[in-house]
């Protein structure tokens, strides 16, 4: 049996709720947008129910280690093919096992979930590492990036704590949405009027504060000066700082 949901995490949790309630045995769970018609399996679309989703999430949280309780969400964010079924198994085991499910590395499904979650968390970390703010004329620090997974929501709390006293925007170019922080709270935004480069997120100089150019040049100069020529190792550089981020990096501007 094939279960289809609307592509949101709440939708997925609603599926889990139905599976438990009706004792379903799905062979595949898939988001609507990835659904392909098959000939021999029956298909059912599950409508999203926020109450159901919340019940599943709350119940699950009680079974997970507090420091690892975001793994199901992170793993789901990976959008990997088949992650929904692996995650269902993870949730099942979390409810029935006497030991904490996170440690069951010998189980292929659990390992899949943990590895997917790890990849997503690493991508979120990379956003924190490689996002670069440009200070615009109206005093908003603007940055754009396109992470492999939809991880901006995972980074907002950290950015808020860190840049608490400045207005800022982080924008996901791939998914065309971002967050704006007004020194108190942050809200989700979609910018209809794109005054910045759609490929690199760079703002044109006439929209930036005068001192912005100085800091950018100083940073580029700093990165050059701090390199030890006798030890060049570009492979190691790429390993730590994947090339796909370079176009957003001030220091890699030409």
């Amino acid at each position: 049996m094939l279960l289809v949901y609307d592509g949101t995490f709440e939708g997925y949790l609603s599926v889990v709720f139905e599976v438990y309630k009706r004792k379903l045995e799905p062979t595949e769970i898939t988001a609507k947008e990835h659904f392909q018609h098959t000939m021999f399996t029956s298909k059912e679309e599950i409508t999203t129910d926020f109450d159901h989703a919340e019940r599943v999430w709350k119940g699950l949280q009680q079974k997970l280690k507090p420091e690892l309780n975001q793994i199901p969400y992170s793993a789901w964010l990976s959008g990997e093919k088949g992650i929904e079924m692996a995650l269902l198994e993870y949730i099942r085991q979390a409810f029935i096992l006497p030991l904490s499910v996170e440690g069951n590395f010998g189980d292929a499904n659990i390992l899949t979930v943990r590895k997917a979650a790890r990849r997503v968390m690493r991508e979120a970390m990379r956003v924190l590492q490689f996002v670069r703010f440009q200070c615009t004329l109206d005093g908003i620090y603007f940055s754009a990036i396109s992470p492999e997974y939809d991880v901006l929501p995972l980074t907002i709390k950290q950015l808020q704590n860190r840049f608490a006293d400045q207005n800022w925007v982080v924008y996901d170019l791939k998914r065309d949405y971002g967050f704006y922080y007004n020194k108190k709270t942050s809200e989700e935004i979609t910018l209809a009027d794109k005054t910045f480069s759609r490929s690199t997120g760079a703002m044109p100089a006439n929209l930036l504060q005068e001192e912005e150019g100085f800091y950018q040049q100083a940073w580029i100069g700093y990165c050059k000066s701090t390199t030890i020529r006798e030890r060049l190792n570009p492979k190691l550089q790429r390993q730590h700082m994947p090339k796909r981020f370079w176009k957003y990096l001030t220091e890699k501007k030409r």
Partner: protein
């Protein structure tokens, strides 16, 4: 004005780059109301230079003027180099400007010594104080304690910064005296001891008074230059081990010697820095900090230098084959950690996963164990016992051979008509020559 600051920054960043420390880890510092920045325990790297090292902190000297003349230092007073000094305000502006743009995780301030150690230390301390008080900055600050500065100034600095460090640079006192006649170990250890005692005292105080000020909460670190002087790895590692235990250092950094002052006859003439040796020392350092190895297990009187061909963990295992094979399903964590091919993460995963089931080879591979290496040292009721009878030397050769990348495809068996190799002459030419003979 801005151009001048930029030039100064370039000179002083260039002068600071030989200090390898760039960690922004070891402390959680929450942001305050209306403040900027915080510090996170894991540390964050914001960029990477072309040499592959991370840029986490704005690493810069306050000045590269110096009253000392140390043979190994690029900034020695007798060198003819462009000199510059950044003012307290300029340093503060750069730090905040960079931080707000998410270029950096914080400031790493070091300096050449101008006028006197006290004068230098005071100005450095003022940078940190201004950042914390006037700018309400809560990001990371790493500061060098200048040997010879008064303990009062070092104490003040410690209140504002996350990490303090004193560089030892040369791993033995006689060699230090030879290369830097104005310095000695007593002067280096004095601030180090002082910092250690203050860290301990302040931690104790904060147990009773929650709002007592912190003192260098991310601890202290140091740096050793490797390959400029003849010390053995055994001397270096036992010094490092003493520093971790006696001085409670958080990190010891090893810097492969770069011939910055080639003209100085007291230093060895080398073309490239000893990168492999430096790497092996870091691996050993990791073994001491995360794998519960003791310095004398890694290097000993019989083996005073590290094996450059194989990593120190494998070298230890090959010297101690009588302790293997171990059973991954039963052995304690400490022993699993010692298996070549199993890292901290894999070892932890094994401990967790074996509560659920007996682990076989396939499980281990998926968990992340490098079986190519580990298979000689572990049993799990599955692997043939024959691999464990190999003598150490044979095993060593086999593992080194296994590490080499395999040729991508079968070499071409078709004879080439034209070849530019030394041994194979073009086919037609050979036959012609043969005919001439």
């Amino acid at each position: 004005m801005n151009d001048i600051v930029q030039k100064k920054l370039n000179i002083l960043a260039d002068a600071a780059k030989y200090d390898v420390s760039c960690a922004s880890s070891g402390n959680n510092r929450a942001n305050t109301q209306g403040g900027v920045g915080n510090a996170v325990n894991c540390g964050i790297c914001h960029s990477f230079t072309e040499d592959g090292r991370c840029i986490s902190l704005l690493k810069v000297l306050m000045t590269n003027n110096c009253i000392y003349d140390c043979a190994y230092c690029i900034n020695r007073r007798t060198n003819d180099r462009p000199r510059a000094t950044l003012t307290v305000e300029e340093l503060v502006d750069l730090t905040i400007g960079f931080y707000r743009r998410n270029y950096i995780e914080g400031l790493f301030l070091s300096s050449g010594v101008i006028k006197s150690p006290d004068y230098t230390m005071e100005r450095m301390m003022l940078v940190a104080k201004k950042l914390r008080i006037e700018e309400r900055y809560n990001g990371y600050i790493h500061m060098k304690a200048i040997p010879g500065a008064s303990s009062d100034l070092i104490h003040q600095a410690g209140i504002w910064v996350d990490r303090l460090s004193v560089n030892i640079e040369i791993p033995s006192n006689p060699e230090l005296k030879r290369l830097a006649p104005e310095k000695n170990y007593v002067d280096i250890y004095r601030p180090m001891n002082f910092i250690k005692e203050n860290i301990i005292a302040q931690k104790e105080e904060r147990k009773h008074l929650r709002h007592a000020p912190t003192f260098a909460p991310a601890g202290q670190s140091t740096q050793l230059i490797v390959g400029a002087t003849p010390e053995s790895d055994r001397q270096i590692l036992s010094l490092a081990s003493d520093l971790y235990q006696g001085q409670r250092l958080k990190r010891v950094y090893y810097s492969g010697y770069l011939p910055v002052n080639e003209y100085d006859q007291r230093l060895p003439a080398i073309k490239t820095p000893p990168l492999v040796r430096e790497n092996r020392l870091y691996q050993s350092d990791w073994l001491m900090r995360f794998y519960k190895f003791k310095a004398n297990e890694i290097v000993s009187d019989e083996h005073p230098f590290l094996d450059l061909e194989i990593d120190p963990k494998l070298a230890w295992a090959l010297r101690n084959l009588h302790q293997f094979p171990i059973n991954v399903n039963k052995a304690p964590y400490e022993m699993i950690l010692r298996v070549p091919g199993i890292g901290v993460q894999s070892a932890q995963r094994i401990i967790e996963a074996r509560k659920f089931r007996t682990l076989n080879t396939q499980h281990l591979t998926k968990i992340g164990v490098v079986m190519k290496r580990a298979k000689y040292f572990i049993v799990n009721n599955e692997l043939p016992a024959s691999v464990f009878d190999l003598p150490s030397e044979t095993l060593r050769k086999q593992i080194i051979l296994g590490d080499k990348p395999k040729p991508k495809s079968q070499p071409d068996t078709q004879l080439k008509l034209f070849s530019f190799g030394d041994n194979v002459k073009p086919l037609r030419l050979t036959t012609n020559l043969a005919m001439l003979d």
